[in-house]
């Protein structure tokens, strides 16, 4: 498996996808810089003690927050690294040759998956470190314990989320022999998870479940229906988890927007500890993680017993 891993790493970081990974890091860095710059230039230290966290969550007026950048483009990179993992080997005629070597079939899948994941990890780490590093340079002090835990936690959540998209794209690459089909299906699912479920499907189903909203209890019940339905999308889970980890003030999951939150429940604006936040997002991480495991399971059952004709 190590041989496959290193070959795939060389593909991702070397010639083949170098530009993709490089540009992604560069843009992430510039994005962060832009926000940092506005922050320093503007109203000074805005979010008080959690300045490093605000580098990820604050928008600059022009640009949405870095968090958005990662949550939006990250999955696309995951898909880009995975959508042709198996089917390109098939069309090149290298799959039969590869599988006739004395290796287990799952090693092919695992090697490719781990290489993709490592690449995503490297890209993410590079972006986060460069933003935090520049922040330190400009502001002249380092993030404190709490902030470090939150940033690391956020990075882990992001990696798990991106692993979902990598696994999803690789599963498509097993099921669809044509790379274009595989890419389109992956992108379709991404579109659905990122926008359609939260904006269309969940509200529509919630309306079906709670057709009338005349008082506050009904309103709350519809909102919670909507929330629970939209949680079938890993994007929703990621967004919730990221918000909680990066906003020490956020005390519960399931806040859709600030107005709604204050409308429905009373928010105490005192920060909670990083440990408490981690506890809040633990279910989110576990669920996304099991989604990844399920995808890998599906890929295994299809790929390990499949007949390979050239």
């Amino acid at each position: 498996m190590t041989a496959i891993f290193w070959k795939e790493m060389a593909d991702h970081l070397g010639r083949r996808r170098f530009l993709l990974t490089f540009l992604l890091i560069l843009f992430g860095f510039l994005w962060g810089m832009f926000i940092l710059f506005r922050e320093v230039q503007g109203s000074g230290v805005s979010t008080g003690e959690f300045l490093f966290l605000s580098l990820f969550t604050n928008s600059s007026g022009v640009l949405p927050p870095v968090l958005f950048y990662l949550g939006f483009f990250g999955p696309l990179v995951g898909i880009a690294l995975g959508f042709d993992a198996i089917n390109s080997e098939r069309t090149q005629g290298t799959l039969a040759k590869l599988l006739s070597q004395p290796i287990h079939r799952d090693a092919v899948f695992n090697g490719k998956f781990l290489a993709g994941l490592t690449t995503l990890g490297i890209v993410l780490t590079a972006i986060v470190l460069s933003i935090v590093g520049m922040g330190m340079f400009v502001m002249g002090y380092a993030p404190q314990g709490e902030e470090i835990i939150r940033i690391v936690g956020f990075s882990i959540v992001t990696v798990v989320y991106l692993a979902f998209w990598l696994a999803m794209a690789m599963t498509c690459s097993i099921f669809f022999r044509n790379a274009v089909t595989s890419a389109l299906v992956s992108l379709g699912l991404w579109l659905m998870a990122t926008f359609l479920i939260a904006l269309l499907i969940a509200p529509a189903l919630a309306e079906l479940a709670v057709p009338e909203v005349s008082d506050l209890t009904q309103q709350v019940s519809r909102e919670s229906w909507q929330l629970w339905i939209s949680r079938i999308s890993p994007s929703q889970l990621f967004n919730e988890a990221a918000q909680i980890l990066l906003n020490p003030e956020a005390r519960f999951t399931g806040v859709l927007s600030a107005e709604r939150a204050s409308q429905l429940m009373r928010v105490q604006a005192t920060p909670i500890s990083a440990g408490q936040s981690l506890q809040l997002v633990w279910p989110h991480i576990v669920v996304v993680f099991s989604m990844v495991a399920a995808l890998i399971g599906v890929s295994y059952t299809k790929f390990l017993r499949e007949e390979i004709r050239s």
């Binding site: 070959k7 090149q92 005629g93 290298t94 040759k97 590869l98 070597q101 390979i308 050239s310």
Partner: protein, 314 residues
């Protein structure tokens, strides 16, 4: 000597199609075995089962003492396989492609380097080895494929239609190489093909497949002899055939059977009856185009089984 490859009642169904049907096959170490058959006769399917790349519907396989269905890795350690349409990573050089295979086979870096040089030298790709494999011609790809297969120093190489798409010179060259490799290194070769001539030349033994079944097996000379032991065949072509001509030919004492296909007539009997045939033709005032004893090459045997195309082949 234990057979290197042995299958018994090996069967593979795809829905209602019987791709391989009760195949019994035995191959000895060091042997060059030609696996012949028309398109869709089940050659590739058999090969996939030998490598554990598809599961048999029923029957057993043993390759180098292992069951490929249960322990494919053990088989793959000792068997090199050149797939029907072999491909390489197009942006890696030929050399890098081979180094990757070496790595997958657990060959150490230092060993790999000189082994790769050695096999590249064998297939005469030392120069081209520096170029990306995506630029290779069909013939070069097949040669690189052969080099790739030799890297792991196999006991047996399985080549699925290695001459497909090569020009006659390329075919000769590749076959020469296969023969050399078999003789020099004592590697057994299992070679599928529908190019008969080549098989005749380099194979110790051939098996002919038709619709998933082995219809003939033996050494080339055995097979030819088996066909001839039945008697003698005379081949006649006339401008216009007629019932009375066929009737008269059947009357010849030594003749057992007359088979007419329009103007082409095959007369089989116990001895050479060309003399009588020419007399009859002369008497009947038919214009004769050709008369010869049919010297049955393997090709004719082969054609016999190739006359009806196998089912289900598009």
């Amino acid at each position: 000597m234990a057979p290197l490859v042995e299958t018994s009642s090996l069967t593979k169904h795809y829905g209602s199609i019987k791709a391989v049907d009760g195949l019994n096959l035995k191959m000895n170490p060091g042997e060059v075995y030609g696996f012949l058959g028309p398109n869709g006769s089940g050659k590739s399917t058999t090969i996939l089962m030998l490598l554990g790349m598809t599961e048999p519907t029923s029957g057993t396989v043993s390759v180098a003492g292992h069951d490929p269905t249960r322990d494919p890795t053990a088989v793959k350690r000792q068997v090199g396989y050149l797939p029907e349409a072999v491909g390489f990573y197009p942006d890696l050089t030929g050399r890098r492609n081979l180094l990757y295979t070496a790595e997958l086979n657990g060959i150490s870096k230092s060993d790999a380097e000189h082994k790769v040089e050695e096999v590249l030298h064998m297939v005469q790709l030392e120069e081209a080895g520096h170029r990306p494999a995506g630029q290779y011609s069909r013939g070069m790809r097949q040669r690189l494929g052969l080099a790739d297969v030799l890297l792991k120093e196999p006991k047996l190489v399985i080549l699925d239609d290695p001459t497909l798409g090569l020009d006659p010179a390329g075919i000769q060259w590749l076959l020469g190489l296969i023969e050399e490799m078999a003789k020099q290194k004592g590697i057994a070769v299992f070679l599928s093909s529908h190019q008969l001539h080549e098989v005749q030349r380099i194979c110790d033994r051939v098996g002919i497949m038709s619709r998933g079944k082995m219809v003939l097996e033996g050494t080339v000379s055995d097979l030819t002899a088996a066909q001839e032991s039945g008697g003698y065949e005379v081949y006649l072509e006339v401008e216009k055939s007629s019932k009375s001509l066929i009737g008269a030919l059947s009357e010849i004492k030594s003749v057992k059977n007359v088979n007419a296909n329009k103007t082409k007539i095959t007369i089989s009997g116990t001895e050479d009856c060309r003399h009588q045939v020419s007399t009859i033709v002369f008497e009947q005032k038919v214009r004769m185009l050709e008369l010869r004893t049919s010297n049955r090459s393997l090709e004719e045997i082969y054609l016999r089984y190739f006359q009806e195309p196998a089912d289900g082949e598009g």
